[in-house]
């Protein structure tokens, strides 16, 4: 993704040709896109803002966002939040089991031994220069306040 400000609908979102069936419109506001479906292997969304997915991110799929990424399902694919270098960007998922996780210019992946399923929503963000993953508690610290 290039990081210039561009027309939200037109160019920045890729993968629509094969990925998203006509008629399933995604709701778009200023800089958050809501995707009401599961992304399957080979499908990707690139967006100049925040991305919220009402579904899973299957292995082999990819979300690249300039802002935050929220997955209201199981995150098993690859996510890049803060793709233009925003170290305050966060990734949140109902189940966080990514193949690989990138925030700004940090890249992490789960440990090679059996990835544990914590069974709860989690949030990844950069803390003291490293990507940390913590349980997401509603009513806890709000994103953006940390750092």
């Amino acid at each position: 993704m290039t990081c210039s400000k561009r027309d939200v609908r037109g160019e920045v979102i890729s993968g629509f040709a094969e990925g998203i069936p006509a008629g399933q419109e995604d709701l778009v506001d200023d800089n958050t896109i809501l995707v009401q479906r599961t992304l399957r292997s080979g499908q990707s969304i690139h967006y100049d803002g925040n991305v919220v997915i009402l579904g899973d991110l299957n292995p082999g799929s990819e979300v690249v966002a300039k802002g935050n990424v929220i997955i209201m399902g199981v995150l098993r694919g690859v996510v890049h939040a803060g793709a233009c270098g925003d170290e305050n960007a966060v990734v949140m998922a109902f189940r966080l089991q990514p193949t690989q996780l990138r925030i700004a210019n940090h890249i992490t992946r789960p440990p090679d031994d059996e990835p544990e399923d914590t069974g709860q929503p989690e949030m990844a963000r950069i803390k003291d220069g490293v990507v940390t993953i913590e349980a997401f508690q509603t009513g806890g610290e709000r994103q953006g306040k940390a750092n």
């Binding site: 094969e18 998203i20 069936p21 599961t38 399957r40 292997s41 080979g42 292995p59 082999g60």
Partner: protein, 264 residues
């Protein structure tokens, strides 16, 4: 008007051709008029699996390019009355047919047959696009392997993009002993990722290899678990509610014994 169903998978060798042949034979044995279309041009297989190789005169490319009439290219099965095969060409490649021609061909076949089952080649390129062009429904075959499931997921996305929503899933070659030991993906693991309806589960069964090599369909074998599994799939396609077989009855020597002596 008949119904056109494409059998596809993404990954190669997971059982598309086996499944196409058995669903076709199953439907025909239940009285349907069925046409099987081998869309794997260049890697013709379905005729061999059905034991019809020596009867091929014309093939699908002859039909689409106007060398012969559709009727001339259709081969009648040797055992089952209603079963017909439109073989693939072996000496051409996937570009010899266009999606438009496939749509036309399927339209023709629909007038005469109750079910048209298309055996899709592996991959996501033109062969795949041809195979799905004329289809109204899709069956996705996978094995309990991470790579096969990944490819199935990709294919489901591509099917949706082609307007084929809600494909049905066939899980092939499952080995319950391995699943139980945690060495193989379970049915639940697979459904959890693919999130589509299950059409059936076929166990790993050497009888499939044996029947395939003989040019027979295991679905006609009344005593095998894989045959039973394919018969159940056939009935589900016909709209019957068939409960999933309890595959746990796998190593059922005692069960068999009980059946023989009449205890349930």
């Amino acid at each position: 008007m008949g119904e056109v169903i494409v059998v596809t998978s993404g990954k190669g060798g997971v059982g598309k051709t086996t499944t196409t042949a058995n669903i076709g034979a199953g439907l025909a044995s239940m009285g349907c008029k069925v046409a099987l279309v081998d869309a794997d041009i260049g890697l013709r297989n379905l005729d061999v699996v059905l034991g019809l190789e020596n009867r091929i005169v014309y093939d699908i490319v002859d039909v689409t390019s106007g060398n012969c009439r559709l009727r001339q290219a259709l081969i009648k099965d040797k055992r089952l009355e209603g079963l017909h095969l439109l073989p693939a060409a072996q000496t051409k490649d996937k570009t010899a047919v266009s999606p438009e021609q496939m749509r036309e061909l399927c339209g023709e076949l629909k007038k005469e047959f109750d079910y048209i089952i298309i055996d899709c080649p592996a991959g996501i390129e033109q062969g795949f696009r041809n195979a799905v062009a004329g289809a109204e429904k899709a069956v996705v075959v996978t094995t309990p392997e991470v790579s096969a499931v990944r490819d199935a997921d990709r294919i489901i996305g591509l099917l949706e993009a082609a307007g084929l929503y809600e494909p049905k899933l066939v899980i092939n070659r499952i080995r319950l002993k391995m699943v139980r030991q945690g060495d193989m993906m379970s049915i639940e693991d697979i459904i959890d990722i693919l999130a589509i309806d299950l059409l059936g589960v076929i166990p790993e069964d050497e009888l499939i290899v044996i029947t395939t090599n003989r040019g027979e369909a295991v679905v006609l074998d009344q005593n095998s678990r894989s045959g039973q599994a394919y018969r159940n799939i056939t009935r589900r396609i016909l709209g019957e509610e068939v409960p999933m077989v309890n595959l746990e009855e796998e190593d059922g020597f005692l069960k068999k014994l009980r059946k023989i002596i009449g205890l349930k």
